[in-house]
Symmetry: C2
Subunit: 404 residues, 2 copies
């Protein structure tokens, strides 16, 4: 028998299957459990017949290119179309040469991590932050420093304190990673003033900002400003990531990065080693879907659809949750984040009980916290379950909270 | 102005655009230059109408899944189908749980690199070897040691000498990387005896073998044994990589890895950080294409098609090349590798002259050599150009060789 352990890199040696992930994988096909653990779009929204036609046409009409190898940074037609799309939708002005198409936004995170992080470098994030971003940054050897959040997102005064204290001890910060709108998992949106403040701080302390924006294209309240940092970025310090996963379909695995030209060029060179290029076929599909207005139509349909699910969940929480459970009221994104202020309540330890006794699942919050806190929090998804499941699931969660 | 350089990782700082790549990119749309520089399939072979129907049906019938997030290691139906496909085609017996679907085989190389290599670890390769593999391994910090080749591929006696000498100086080899059939760039195929010998050496020196096999599904001579190392792997030391890029279409970006179970599990965990999963849609397309027999039909069509191009090129070389140019006679793959035994002949320096004066392009061989040699070699592709271009291009190459 070969002992494979000795051939692993330190990354592979340190990586380990998450117990929680395994536990949650097991419930996928259990009809008796209501799961709020996912983070996936409702497939009812996928514009299947339109995408079926688009993909057929892409292959028939453009197959010589659509099935062939293509440029690492992405099809020029797609980058032009994304440039136009972002200008119209978000007020971001990005030259097609500043855009790199990625294999989902997870690859964007990996590209950023590998291009920017050497072991020991510091990355500042919201605390909590997105699990897979934490994973990608740690895989590159980053030390993560978390900044406290409140209902308006990252506390930018605390951010400045952290940066001061890091610099006073000789630390080296590469970038601030933030999810300004519809934060995963916290459900918060960074206020406009704080967005401006964050950019000022980045300039003052000479760091970059990585803005992860999967969610701002679908928001549930009028009058809340969701202008991306990138659109306000007069110092050219923001690297912007987004994805088609929430506004078209995740199975296409098309995301993108906007970065200052020379940084985009580095990303392109790094991406060559990662997968040569993202699938040409799904790039063609996205290109046509944007050009035909399908993405914008999907946004129009998804907005009230997810809003009504969010409202259902908030209303169920109001009905069922005891006073000592606090939770966010997200204006975007797919998640509500709840905190149980009850002595010793540990959502990680209770997950198995929740599943087996109360027949409800969530993601324990602790994994999202970079400082080991958050044991009494949970991330609750409202995009995938039906209205009925939302009501019944929240009722079950409330029972768990009250009884355990 | 922000000085972005200080935010880069050492990987990004060391990575640099290849002059040759830039030069070759420029000729893409020049009709007056015949290019042997590519390594891409002839799009005439793409089964466009069948793939158009398959993709349409995949979205219409299975869209809820085909457009959705999916499992990191790949769709179980695809892994089962690949398992069956490899058994029938190559005599490889792989459990679906030993398979990880990747975003092209470039991602397979990256996954292997990141899972196995720590900075300073040694990887042994053929000399020359595949450029993008060298790149992925170096990006992870590998030191590369090259083993001499002859017409039968890697010289396994030299391999053993290298391993002995590495171990005698306390070095640490993680794996031997090899392209046994239709080597890129060398055009060679490892003889059966050497394949057995290589596996014995791997066992004796306790190292793993990474077998990169994009090419053995399409070969041009009957009676040449092309059994993969993986099919002969009784010590369970082989990690096998292959791809749909040459036998279906590269634009789908579907490759796969077969590895011992626990290694496959590590790869899966690492892949999570890279792109969560490969595109569900293109996985469905590949799944259906294999099940409907389309991949096997494409192999049947491509084999005589590429064989006739190879023959045309060999015949042109025989007609035009002077005696002091030696070249391989590949039984698989897409390349002929030529060596010009003429004092001071430098294919890197001459590329610009070749393009601008002789209107012909190739890939200079030096970049493929891990020891800085090979300045008088070039890689010549026969899969993409037409028969006429092959004859005329080789004539031009011969002029270059004679005149410069």
């Amino acid at each position: 028998m070969v002992d494979y352990g000795k051939y692993y890199s330190s990354l592979a040696n340190n990586i380990r299957a998450s117990d929680i992930r395994e536990l949650l994988a097991l419930i996928k096909h259990r009809r008796d459990v209501i799961s709020f653990a996912g983070g996936i779009p409702d497939p009812k929204l996928f514009p299947k017949s339109e995408l079926a036609d688009i993909s057929r046409e892409a292959i028939l009409k453009y197959g010589d290119e659509a099935l062939q190898y293509s440029e690492t940074k992405g099809l020029i037609e797609l980058r032009e179309t994304l440039s136009d799309f972002m200008r119209r939708m978000k007020g971001i002005s990005a030259d097609p040469e500043d855009i790199v198409v990625t294999t989902g936004s997870q690859q964007a995170l990996d590209i950023v991590a590998r291009s920017m992080i050497d072991p020991g470098d510091i990355v500042v994030t919201e605390n909590p932050s997105y699990l897979a971003a934490i994973g990608a940054f740690k895989a590159a050897g980053a030390r993560l420093v978390g900044v406290e959040m409140d209902d308006n997102g990252m506390d930018t005064f605390k951010l400045e304190e952290k940066l001061k204290s890091i610099y006073s001890t000789g630390g080296r910060v590469k970038f601030i990673y933030t999810i300004p709108v519809g934060h995963n998992p916290a459900g918060t949106t960074l206020s406009y003033d704080r967005r401006k403040h964050l950019l000022e701080i980045a300039e003052k302390y000479d760091v970059l900002v990585v803005e992860d924006d999967p969610y701002s294209y679908i928001t549930y309240e009028n009058g809340v400003d969701t202008t991306p940092l990138k659109a306000l970025d007069r110092y050219d310090r923001v690297i912007y990531l987004s994805t088609m996963s929430k506004i078209l379909a995740p199975g296409l695995r098309i995301g993108w990065i906007v970065a200052p030209r020379e940084v985009a060029r580095k990303f392109e060179l790094v991406k060559q080693y990662l997968d040569l290029h993202s699938p040409t076929l799904t790039q063609f599909i996205v290109l046509e879907a944007i050009k035909k207005g399908l993405v914008e139509r999907m946004i129009k349909v998804a907005t009230p659809y997810y809003k009504s699910k969010r409202d259902a969940m908030l209303s169920a929480m109001e009905d069922y949750f005891p006073d000592y459970v606090s939770y966010t009221r997200p204006i975007g994104g797919l998640f509500i984040f709840a905190r149980v202020e009850k002595e010793g309540f540990n959502t990680t330890k209770l997950l198995e009980v929740a599943i087996n006794k109360y027949k409800v699942a969530y993601v324990p919050g602790a994994g999202f916290f970079v400082d080991g806190s958050g044991y009494n929090t949970m991330r609750i998804n409202f995009s995938y379950p039906t209205h009925d499941e939302i009501y019944e699931g929240v009722r079950r969660l409330a029972q768990l909270v009250k009884s355990e």
